[in-house]
């Protein structure tokens, strides 16, 4: 009965995921295309940075997603850890590589932006360093899952790592306020409202919507894959046990 209960939710989830997947993917492609059109062709150059400001439209959403994915991962880990919900564990596990990808993209595009604007590909200021730490947290989390064959035990330990690492997220957000840094302070989420002109904010928000829905569109199939893989492993286990029993008889 217990096993059935555990399975029931993932099955329902899979049906639901398959249903909304095309809509999510379509939304991602649509907002992405519109966002890129505005970002590259139909938005003004910056008064200081000129055309180089267009790097913002790929950099800022990636940086946001790197922190958002980590928050999702930590939240799902906590749910999985406390309520022993396997679907939450799987969601956390499958978010990690996506978050790591967004982090790499943020670091890479930031570097490309930093060279012409600041005059350096990389500096060890608080913002850049804390985002690099975020990447290492993702990689450590993924490595931990792979290092432990027992899924339940791996989920427990990985959850603790994700929760511990979550303290880095506010550090990233406020690094530009707590310490002198080369990186600029926040432009959108700030007490006195955005400091980005409307003509630039529109493509940026479109791109953020595109990144966000692309994340969901990539997450849903990978959760389904993992659930299928686990079911397969369980079936193989049952098969082997039965074979062993037959041999004994």
């Amino acid at each position: 009965m217990n096993l059935l209960n555990d399975l029931a939710n993932p099955v329902r989830f899979e049906r639901y995921a398959r249903m909304i997947f095309p809509a999510v993917l379509g939304f991602a492609l649509l907002t992405g295309a519109a966002g890129l059109y505005f970002a590259l062709f139909n938005s003004p150059a910056d008064y200081q940075q000129g055309e180089a400001v267009r790097i913002m439209y790929v950099h800022v959403p990636a940086a946001w997603m790197s922190m958002f994915c980590y928050s999702v991962m930590a939240g799902a880990s906590a749910v999985g850890f406390i309520w022993k919900h396997p679907l939450a564990d799987v969601a956390a596990k499958e978010t990690a590589p996506l978050g790591a990808g967004f982090t790499i993209l943020a670091l890479f595009t930031g570097s490309l932006w930093g060279k012409p604007m600041w005059g350096a590909w990389w500096v060890w200021d608080a913002r850049l360093t804390s985002v690099l730490v975020l990447l290492f947290l993702y990689l450590g989390y993924m490595a931990l899952w792979r290092a432990i064959p027992d899924k339940a035990r791996a989920a427990r330990l990985a959850a603790i790592l994700a929760i511990v690492g979550f303290v880095n997220v506010p550090v990233i957000k406020f690094s530009v306020e707590w310490w002198n840094s080369l990186h600029q302070p926040a432009s959108i989420i700030r007490a006195d409202g955005p400091t980005i002109d409307g003509a630039m904010l529109t493509p940026l928000l479109l791109m953020i919507a595109a990144y966000m829905s692309a994340y969901v569109a990539m997450l849903l199939p990978s959760i389904r894959n993992e659930l299928t893989a686990r079911r397969l492993a369980r079936l193989q286990f049952v098969d082997e046990t039965r074979a062993a029993e037959l041999v004994e008889q």
Binding site: P44, A45, D46, Y47, Q48, Q49, G50, A52, V53, M56, A78, F81, I82, W83, P116, M117, W118, G119, A120, V123, W124, D125, A126, A159, I160, I163, V164, F166, V167, N168, V171, W178, W179, N180, S181, L182, Q184, P185, A186, S187, R190, D192, G193, T195, I196, D197, A199, M200
Partner: protein, 156 residues
């Protein structure tokens, strides 16, 4: 305590312990995490630091002097300027390429050593940009209406 409560408690304890540890570490390391000194902070120090430091502030208006350029050796053109934070200033000398955003009134971070007269001999100049993004026309309009002063929007 039920098992679920125990797990919840454990997770909170772990998170708070990690937060405390990180908070204490960052407080202890405050001076080394700070990416640069400002000219005022430099004045307060008892002895000028002997090793490489970073200094941040605005390039003072009218302070930029392009030195002698030998032939076409643009890469080693010497420039001197002063960096100000509104309170104090520090003189800087630098030989090399300046970033695109470098100009008078712009935020910069320079890295180098102080010489015996308190001039910073820089080996790296980085330009800092702020959080404001807008098209040039909007900027011009704001300036025209007197709504923009010293890199800050008036009344926002």
């Amino acid at each position: 305590m039920t098992r679920k409560q125990k797990r919840t408690f454990l997770l909170f304890a772990v998170f708070i312990a990690a937060g405390l540890a990180l908070g204490l570490t960052l407080t202890a390391l405050r001076t080394s995490i700070t990416y640069f000194y400002t000219p005022s902070e430099l004045l307060v120090l008892d002895a000028p630091p002997a090793n490489t430091i970073r200094l941040g502030g605005l390039v003072e208006d009218g302070s930029l002097v392009h030195g002698e350029m030998s032939g076409v050796d643009v890469k080693n053109a010497v420039v001197s300027f002063t960096v100000t934070d509104g309170g104090a200033t520090t003189a800087v000398r630098y030989a090399g390429l300046l970033p695109d955003l470098f100009r008078e009134g712009q935020g910069v971070i320079v890295q180098g050593r102080l010489d015996e007269r308190g001039t910073l001999i820089a080996d790296t100049v980085l330009a800092k940009h702020d959080e404001n993004y807008m098209p040039k026309e909007v900027m011009d309009a704001l300036k025209e209406q007197g709504l923009w002063q010293d890199g800050e929007e008036v009344g926002s």
